[in-house]
Assembly symmetry: C2
């Protein structure tokens, strides 16, 4: 991080978790052959870990056992400050039936729809967060012409 951003506040761990619990989605970050990859995902806090749904695709294969990061950010209610929380840890597929059944009840509606019947868990090695003043961000946007897949 930059050392000279004095208006930045370091968030204590409990504040980081509280912000993550309120964040509907974030971004999963992986390194694949030295190339950073980033995917928006819907993740939920579960007893000091993060759980997310995915399909049995490349994201799951690459994340399995890997060092990953998860970032969520947003603007606080008064609009004057933004926050960003980063979890770093290891991701693995939830295999045990009992563990899987307990995660079924988490409100894990995928941000992106589709068949996502695998659950993965990120066990954090670290959680860090900051809040800082922001310049205003634009609101929702119009979409340019898009082609359907």
């Amino acid at each position: 991080m930059d050392s000279d951003t004095t208006p930045t506040s370091i968030l204590p761990a409990h504040a980081c978790w509280e912000l993550l619990r309120g964040a509907a989605y974030g971004r999963l970050v992986l390194c694949i052959d030295g190339q950073p990859e980033i995917f928006p995902i819907n993740a939920q806090v579960d007893h000091g870990t993060l759980v997310f749904r995915t399909s049995e695709g490349s994201k799951q294969r690459e994340a399995e056992g890997a060092l990953v990061a998860y970032e969520a950010d947003g603007v606080l209610a008064d609009g004057s400050r933004a926050w960003s929380v980063v979890i770093k840890g290891t991701a693995s597929t939830i295999q045990r039936t009992a563990e899987l059944m307990s995660t079924i009840h988490l409100p894990l509606h995928p941000w992106e729809p589709g068949r996502k019947d695998r659950f993965m868990r990120i066990v954090p090695a670290s959680i860090t967060g900051r809040s800082f003043e922001v310049t205003p961000v634009p609101s929702a946007q119009r979409i340019p012409a898009a082609s359907d897949e």
Copy 2:
């Protein structure tokens, strides 16, 4: 990406650039010794590249010459669909005076304040984007107790 997310639309490159131009901020992703690192940054489109400001700190040192990714996402005006655009490429510090002077006029107010007198440019090797249906995301949040740095 997942192959079974049928409600996903692939965005053409011009739509990706238009969405990036309207995004006030995004996230810079790096791999440092195999560990993914992610930083919220304010970046601007500049003639088919991305320019951002940073201080002369670890972020700049690590990004110099590295494979990086930049992601921005958001919810479209009608609220029904989200978009995510990812640029992958190489980052380097803007050194030449003429190039630097032309970037001075970009509206690059840092998302996070502080002394950020270095400009870096990401030259894209690829730009990809998707839009997809979303479950509602929460609005701005209250901040939990934070300690000042």
